[in-house]
Subunit: 347 residues, 3 copies
């Protein structure tokens, strides 16, 4: 398969930036500075990799103004090389196209409304009352519940499940194994047994949201669970019932968000963090990986709370003392009092 | 779709409690105090939301004796508003019914025994020797392994997998993406390579258990992995081989339970907790979210162990000192000894 | 079903070791010391279970030289009872065989190449350009993306998804719900919105790798994500883009590994650990369960970092002091200075 190639001149015409060096240089793919070879363009988004630029075999590079003269290979100079790279790569690597139509093995309810411009893959099931918009691709083995609405130009990878009566917006990407709208964890103790509380809210996924493999987003108990526009969720995240995730918030893998937590816009949550329920996180909060957020965060900023790891024997000793930290505080206070007495005597 | 509605008088006849206000008030759905509108009943289970009761547009409310006069809207007074709400909501929101029968796209072994009163959805596979009980619903794309027994009135949402030779009880709910009976993580090092240890025990899921989306329960190595009656598991929990989870224990999302851990009855495990293997947890133990349980817990009670999160700069300083806590303890001891000497000199 | 049985004499001929007691003893299955009964062989791999050996009803046992005389029941003495057990159990419990051929409900692209000696189960989809090797079993509902290569004698349990253009080696086991080659979490902020960075690297799974249920391995951003030969991954692990996991490394459940982390060979990572991105972990490193690895580990050894859990009230007090640990360190330093002054005065 020969890939189409483009002149740097074509690229800046499309995406902006200015060229230093030969504008006729042809490139067909993006690569890392380390691995790039003839016909490939690399990018330098972080000054600490400048050394790699020197030895790079790339045919061209995308660099910031500050790095404009850090190499002599043909280059595109732009304010934000990383987003330039993202745009150029999306241009060079378009998503595979899927022909419109419904695979004969799919099982579509007569009462479902599927756009003729949608692609429905093998072994998909779409229940009564569901709707699927134009340009949407639903790959093999997905299951769409009754009365659920899937918007336009959305892409569901194989084996995604969306339960009944949910909403998935336009330009959404759901990766394999994602489960949207499963029952929230609602139980009430009654005479020694847990009663199930029906989960009658919806899960509502905004436009331009992407959700990684095996992530789960529960439906609401009474009101809805909502993921706002442009939020990006990595793999294996658990979003409990009635959570709200603000627009353009990015959440790394393995995060757990408990019921009714309300996360702001433009937050960044690190991998493996746990956000407890019924609390607020302000806009533009960054939570470090592995942190357990136990109460409301009212101010933008970076919040952390992990035990510093180290060599086991050392950790063991420090952790053992940690069990006595409250007593240590008392002993320090007592020492301070005694010192004061001695100081007076010695004055 | 018009929902059926009921008089408060009908409801207390069915579920008990006493009415204050107009017993002819008709309601058709449950809602939160905040969102409820005409025809809806809200509930007050926690005194801290009493303020919302004042402004609520609900047609009726479920309240405790203590809150019987906290509002003048028609109300049902009951000892436990939360479980009353659970029961009433289940009545008002019955599960969708599924017609008996086997979808033609399902692949059922000739040697499997499926009750004629079960519903088997599209693209399901049921292997030889498996049995499925009456009233059970197995939705699209589930896979039931050889010789596995699924009880009665049990519900498997789309894309559940139960491996061979497992047992799933009656009135069980398994949400999408659940995997029951996958191999436990059993390996033995032999001459620089890991040998796989066959996992020949079963996974046995008791009656009235509910398991959330993408949770995994491994089969036993030699003996069985067991989840006892009435236990409730949220999403994305990992239950390793030979774990036993006691009856009516509730486990929140993202918990990991290592091999051969034995969890008691009526425990409550918070989200993201990790329970190490080969240990016991007594009945009625509560483990806080994010806690790593590293040894046996013999007494009922609440157990915790997370690093208190905070503003990053502050955490960084405290965490840095934590690496020296053992030395700090030594320094305090030394200070105490020196103080004693000085006190004697100054006596 | 009658299981075939074997004499101890047959077994040592096949697997080595020496017999003490009746070499004609017949066994047909492996069991634990506690549960074993007539016809079953148990093993003692850990001296702390020696007491169970005394009361065991097993017909025979596998023991180390050190325990050769710890029982009088017929026994096989061997250097490593645990790996002996693994080998014998694999012999007594062969994997179920699957007939070659393609189930009629599977949807296989005309341009895919499936070995006539492979088994393709119901509702499988295999896209154009994909290849599946001899002896490989792909169970119900798996989805194999375009141009992906699956090796020989590999086993995919139901509902595994492998995205396009990935490589899965020979003798690999992928459990249900595994997703290989989903897009890595690559986003670039541009004018208040996240741009998606196309993920054009592959996910490459080496020979003899086993991956547990619902584990996800993302494809690389530009270069590949690689899991080397013989590595063993438990359930619900998240492996981000461009991670490399060295040969024969074993990773327990619920671990999250962030982008571009480079884990060595023969490492052992405990359950629920988080490994941050862009760092190295040396060969033969052991990471304790629940530890957050925040920087490169250059030396083999055991590393830990969890908060010691305990009774909630006690933890609460210690955790409260932890927020003041930096101040405590200052106070200790000040006390030391004051003591020095007092000591001089009292000299």
């Amino acid at each position: 398969m020969t890939r189409p190639d483009f002149r740097l001149a074509d690229i800046v015409e499309k995406f902006g930036g200015r060229i230093l060096g030969d504008a006729e240089t042809r490139i067909s793919q993006i690569a890392t500075l380390e691995k790039a070879t003839v016909g490939e363009i690399a990018f330098l988004a972080n000054a600490k990799y400048r050394k790699q630029l020197e030895g790079s075999q790339a045919s061209a590079a995308i660099v910031s103004e500050a790095d404009a003269e850090a190499t002599q290979i043909p280059r595109i100079v732009t304010a934000n090389p990383y987003s330039y790279f993202a745009k150029l790569s999306a241009f060079l690597n378009p998503l595979p196209e899927f022909a419109s139509g419904i695979h004969p093995s799919a099982v579509i309810s007569e009462n479902a409304v599927v756009s003729p411009d949608a692609h429905i893959g093998p072994h998909v099931t779409i229940a009564e009352g569901a709707r699927v918009g134009a340009g949407t691709v639903i790959m093999a083995g997905c299951s769409i519940g009754a009365d659920t609405v899937i918007g336009e130009n959305t892409r569901l990878y194989p084996r995604v499940v969306v339960y009944q009566n949910c909403v998935v917006g336009d330009h959404v990407i759901l990766h394999s194994g994602v489960v949207i709208g499963g029952d929230g964890f609602g139980i009430a103790m009654d005479a020694g047994r847990w009663l199930k509380i029906p989960q009658i809210g919806r899960a509502v996924i905004g436009n331009h949201v992407e959700i990684g493999a095996n992530t789960t987003v529960d439906r609401g108990a009474l009101d809805d669970t909502v993921i706002e526009e442009g939020a990006k969720l990595d793999n294996q995240i658990q979003v409990a019932h009635n959570v709200r995730i603000g627009a353009h918030t990015a959440i790394a893998g393995c995060v757990g968000i408990a019921g009714s937590a309300n996360i702001g816009r433009y937050c960044r949550i690190g991998g493996g963090a746990i956000i407890l329920g019924h609390l607020q996180v302000a806009d533009q909060v960054e939570v470090s990986a592995g942190t357990v957020v136990t109460k409301t965060i009212r101010e933008a900023g970076t919040y952390s709370g992990t035990f510093p790891f180290g060599e086991n024997q050392k950790w063991r000793k420090n952790a053992a003392q940690l069990r006595h930290l409250d007593e240590m505080a008392d002993r320090i206070k007592k020492l301070e009092q005694q010192i004061e007495i001695l100081k007076e005597k010695n004055a």
